[in-house]
C-alpha cells in the first residue's frame, strides 16, 4: 500500500518556490474542475497560494508538499463556496445516504442489443469518449463526488492521502469513490444516448416490436 500523508517534524526546505511552481498546472486544473470557471479558478489558486505562503512554516515534511497544497486548495474552495450565496453550501464531511444501484458501464456495453458494435464494444466506446465528454460528466457530479474522483483518478493520491486532504475517514473515501464512479459512468452512458452515439436499448426494443 502507498504511504500515508506524513506530517513529521523536518525542517522546511528552501525549494518551496520550486515545488509550488511545479505543481501550479495541477492546482489550476483541479481548481478549474472545482469552480468550472477560468477566472474563478485563477482566484482560487491565487488565494490558496497566499494561504500556503502565510503558513509555509507549518509544512513539516517537504515530501508531503503536494498533499498539503491540495488540502489548502480544497479548504479554500469550501470557504469560497460559503461566501458565495449563489452556490449551495457543500459539505465534504457528510455522507450521502441515498441508496442507488451499482452502475457498471461495462455491463451496459455488453447488453445483447449492442452487439452491432462488434466483439469489443467497451473498447469501441472508450475510444470514442472525448475529453469534453469526460469533463462534462465530471462537472455534473456533486462537489463531494467530483473531489474524490479528481484526487484519486486525476491526481493519483492514495485513499489515506485523500482522507487527510478532505478530512474524512478512509472508509468514506472508498464508498464515495465507488458512488462517484458509478454516477460518472451513468452520466457518460446517458450522454452517449443523448448524442445518438449509442441507441437506448429500450427504444431499440420498442421500435423492433411490431
Amino acid at each position: 500500500m502507498r504511504s500515508n500523508l506524513a506530517i513529521e517534524t523536518m525542517p522546511c526546505s528552501d525549494d518551496f518556490e520550486q515545488q509550488l511552481t511545479d505543481v501550479l498546472d495541477r492546482l489550476y486544473a483541479a481548481a478549474l474542475r472545482m469552480t468550472k470557471n477560468r477566472s474563478d479558478a485563477e482566484d482560487l489558486v491565487s488565494d490558496a497560494v497566499t494561504k500556503a505562503l502565510k503558513n509555509k512554516d507549518k509544512l513539516k515534511d517537504p515530501a508531503s508538499f503536494r498533499g498539503w497544497m491540495f488540502r489548502i486548495l480544497t479548504n479554500t474552495f469550501i470557504s469560497h463556496c460559503r461566501k458565495k450565496k449563489n452556490r449551495p453550501e457543500i459539505s465534504l464531511a457528510e455522507t450521502d445516504n441515498e441508496n442507488e444501484e451499482e452502475f457498471w458501464l461495462f455491463d451496459r456495453l455488453h447488453q445483447p442489443l449492442l452487439l452491432f458494435w462488434g466483439s469489443n464494444p467497451e473498447q469501441e466506446f472508450l475510444n470514442n469518449v472525448l475529453r469534453e465528454d469526460l469533463a462534462r460528466a465530471l462537472d455534473k457530479l456533486k462537489d463531494e463526488y467530483r473531489m474524490v474522483v479528481l484526487l484519486s483518478d486525476v491526481e493519483g493520491f492514495s485513499y489515506p492521502e485523500i482522507a487527510a486532504i478532505l478530512d474524512i475517514p478512509v472508509g468514506t473515501v472508498r464508498s464515495r469513490l465507488a458512488r462517484a464512479r458509478s454516477r460518472l459512468q451513468k452520466s457518460l452512458w446517458q450522454q452517449a444516448i443523448d448524442t445518438g452515439f449509442v441507441k437506448d436499448p429500450a427504444d431499440r426494443l420498442r421500435s423492433e416490436t411490431p
Partner: protein, 81 residues
C-alpha cells in the same frame, strides 16, 4: 507457505476498484492477482475500469495561464520581503 484460498467473481468485483487503485495488500491483494490472472471476465472489467481511469486522468490536465503564473510570481515576491 500454501497459496491463499481462491476467491469467487462476486468477491473480486466487490474489491475491483480498490485493486485498481492499488489500495489492497496482503492476502486479498494476492487473491485478486490470482483471480485476475485466471478469470477472463473479471480481467476484462478491470481493463475497462483501468482505461476509463486513464482517460479521466488525461482529461484533467491543464496549463496554468500566464496571468496566473505572473500572479504567483508576484505573491512569491511579496512574501520574500
Amino acid at each position: 507457505m500454501s497459496s491463499p484460498e481462491k476467491i469467487d467473481c462476486e468477491k473480486a468485483l466487490r474489491h475491483l476498484l480498490e485493486y485498481l487503485d492499488q489500495e489492497l495488500e496482503g492476502t486479498l491483494q494476492h487473491q485478486m492477482e490470482q483471480h485476475m490472472s485466471s478469470c477472463r471476465s473479471c480481467f476484462s472489467r478491470l481493463e475497462f475500469e483501468q482505461t476509463l481511469k486513464t482517460h479521466i486522468r488525461k482529461s484533467g490536465t491543464e496549463q496554468a495561464p500566464d496571468s496566473l503564473r505572473n500572479r504567483v510570481v508576484g505573491l512569491l515576491k511579496d512574501f520574500e520581503k
